[in-house]
Amino acid sequence: MYFEFKNVSVHYDKVQALQNVTLNLEQGEIVALIGANGAGKTSTLRAITALAKLSSGEIWFGGKRIDRLEPAAVVALGVSMVPEGRHVYPFMSVKDNLLMGAYLRRDKNDVKRDLDRVFMRFPRVRERLKQQAGSLSGGEQQMVVISRALMAKPKLLLLDEPSLGLAPMVVRDIARAIVEINRDEGISIILVEQNSRMALKISHRGYALETGRIALTGKSTDLLNDDHIRKLYLGA
């Protein structure tokens, strides 16, 4: 298994955020995590990037156990996370933002090549290169944040609510970009979304989390037709 969560539990203070969560991902897959706020989606991502400590369980990535590493070491292994809420560095230029994404990389020419690739994917980012990132619109910021994560040359990309607070039409642009990144560059993606319909449409498999546990899992196409899911998350 390329990436695996084995019986992971996470506590903040005394509150249990994750309870014996087991999930996995094959190389090249997009896996969606859906569920209400507080269900443990973000905690799952934070556990992967070592921003949250596990109280029990193991996390494996590419044949290595990563749950005891420092955040920087996890990033170095090729895990890149786009946190919720478009955290650009608001007072830095877009270019500096992108270069921060490549912080751990030494080969300058390689970084330059990747910059060009990012510009091909998001021409808008190139247009805004010299601007302070904080002055960009919501959709543009989301593109910058995803580009910044790509600059780290990740093998596994974690996206936390990329559609949050974006106009529905921008959401579609972002969704398309996610599909393309996965298809063109072969990057595996874990996608956390409130917008369950969009998430299940673009992912291969999905997990529904409820109060820190996995409530349901399966192929996304199946989940889209599941009665429970429809009632709880799709409102059909």
């Binding site: 002055s135 919501g138 607070g165 039409m169 599909v179 449409k201 709880l232 998350y233």
Partner: protein, 260 residues
């Protein structure tokens, strides 16, 4: 129009070179539910701050029951009956749910500061009343069982409701709700929608900012759409869904092809 309770007239807010809200006007009718929608950064939150006087506008004004409230200090605006809630969960974290709501009855205090300090008969009677009324509000919003729990330990859904309870304690005539349904699944949203309708049943006019389109379409009497600080449309949910400008700028065309 005779029933207008709140009127926003040509309000504009500039931060340095950036115009966050640009010449926005609309009227809110008494006991209506009006939603403000638009992408993040479209100026919705700024508009809320302008209405509740947390920010002074660059131009324009807000009238409430025919009187200008722009320029008053925010607590004064609350005193008149225009009360806002905050995005996320803004409550007094280190107090119990009950204490939160009791404190929020402040506007109804009849005792002076000295009376409060020396616990005069008026002050004691006030507190007695507040505790009753707070309990009633909490029960109404379904928080009865957790009223003695410390706010910081409450789960997310309860915090949202508590935020509304705190605002309700201030006896608003106009309640401004900032993203009341964010982070809820369909089921929870349904409950919250009922709750907001219940608030309106009590004679409160509700203005809300929200991203959840389906909830907005269900709950609103009218919708105002902002984009880059400009009002691009206003109307009933049915009108908004058909409005070309809104589709162009915000909703987008019907489902494009997505997925694999």
């Amino acid at each position: 129009m005779t029933l207008a309770i709140l009127e926003v007239q040509g309000i504009t807010k500039r931060f340095g070179g950036l115009t966050a809200v640009n010449d926005v006007s609309f009227v809110v009718e008494k006991e209506a539910i009006l939603s403000v929608i638009g992408p993040n950064g479209a100026g919705k939150s700024t508009l809320f701050k302008l209405i509740s006087s947390f920010l002074p506008p660059t131009f324009g004004q807000v009238s409430y029951e025919g009187h200008r409230i722009t320029g008053l200090s925010p607590h004064e605006v609350a005193r008149r009956g225009v009360v806002r809630t905050f995005q996320e969960t803004s409550i007094f974290k280190e107090m119990t749910a009950l204490q939160n709501v009791v404190v929020a009855h402040h506007l109804r205090c009849r005792a002076s500061s000295f009376g409060l300090y020396f616990s005069s008969a008026t002050a004691r009677a006030d507190e007695e009343r507040f505790r009753k009324s707070a309990t009633e509000i909490l029960v109404y919003l379904g928080l009865g069982p957790v009223k003695n729990a410390l706010a910081r330990n409450l789960p997310h859904g309860h915090l949202r409701a508590l935020g509304i309870a705190v605002a309700m304690a201030a006896e608003p005539k106009v309640l401004l709700l900032d993203e009341p349904f964010a982070g809820m699944n369909i089921e929870e949203t349904e409950a919250a929608v009922k709750l907001v309708r219940g608030v309106r049943e009590r004679g409160v006019t509700v203005i809300l900012v929200e991203h959840d389109m389906s909830a907005v379409m269900r709950i609103s009497d009218r919708i105002v759409v902002l984009n880059f600080g400009i009002k691009i449309a206003e109307g009933t949910p049915a009108e908004i869904q058909k409005n070309e400008a809104v589709i162009e700028a915000y909703l987008g065309r019907a489902d494009d092809e997505l997925g694999h």
